[in-house]
Subunit: 193 residues, 2 copies
């Protein structure tokens, strides 16, 4: 009987290991050799699952963006200010796992700067993110919970910029030291609506 | 007569060349070899000016932060809303050179993630930036041009996060496509004050 190997499962393992390596040591630490040895593969065996480091990185990128899409997706349909608050709390790095996850995103931005295909994927992700946020804000406005004059598009831009900035500053600052300031930001954003 | 070499001038050249290389190709493109050849030095001659790639990078980091400090520094003492507007316009990436300069910053953030000394310098820079912004906002408040209830510290945090997010999103998006949205953000921030 032929040995049965779950190809997709192995690919997922490789992606998880690569993400872990980037999280700890950044992009430079993720080499075909370090990925193979951490995943417990013989040198060269990775090639059965991914053509190149670039294709592994693309898969990590897809997974990170998919995780983020889950977070920033339509979520609950609750158009109250509480529903909006939950949406913002899900986006911002308000706990250690999300602060740490920003490390992978930073590495991927840097990588996407010299990889057009990854840059294109990230732009699509940003467009989806913007659309989901605008839809959320529009629902709140339709329900009368948002009455501020600033257009939804501009509110969405502010929230996206703050989220990205928060990812960077939270990584650079002592772990967790900015969480309270982001909670206050959410309070004050909600109060403005 | 001994050959006179302006040591500091050579160091500045090397820093400028390295910044240019990072701007075009990111961190991976900046090697001792590529820096030497672009600067027109013989291989190995760099060592007379910098011990290692790390020390060149630290010098680039210092220069980029010094440039940013000029931009975000006390600036004019004008505590009117116009003075505040100029301050925000100086911070945000509202033209092509500043959008491009964000490329170096992104590379340096990534690098600082695995270099404690650079991370410390960036944290100090962020603390200075925050202090300068809070001072600017406090001056506007003392002059009666800011009356919003949100504390200056929180307004400063919002502005810093938006600036960092704007750096990242402007790099990922088609060149210049977000400039208008940042101009609208400044308008709406000023209107809130």
């Amino acid at each position: 009987m032929p040995k049965i190997v779950d190809h997709d499962e192995r690919r997922r393992e490789i992606v998880a290991v690569t993400k872990e390596i980037i999280l700890r040591g950044g992009f430079e630490a993720a080499t075909m050799r370090s990925i193979a040895s951490t995943a417990g593969f013989a040198n060269g065996a990775l090639k059965h699952y991914f053509r190149s480091k670039e294709s592994i990185v693309a898969a990590v990128f897809d997974e990170v963006l998919a995780e983020m899409t889950e977070v920033i997706g339509p979520g609950t349909d609750d158009p109250s200010l509480d529903g909006l608050r939950h949406h913002l709390e899900a986006m911002l790095p308000l706990d250690e796992p999300r602060i740490t996850a920003g490390r992978v995103l930073l590495a991927l931005w840097e990588y996407a700067m010299s990889d057009d295909e990854l840059a294109k994927r990230y732009r699509e992700h940003v467009a989806d993110w913007r659309a989901a946020l605008v839809a959320k804000l529009a629902a709140c406005r339709a329900a009368g919970t948002i009455t501020v004059a600033t257009p939804d598009e501009d509110l969405a831009s502010e929230l996206m910029n703050v989220t990205i900035g928060a990812n960077v500053l939270s990584l650079i600052s002592p772990m967790g030291s900015l969480i309270e300031s982001y909670e206050r930001y959410i309070d004050s954003f909600i109060a403005r609506m």
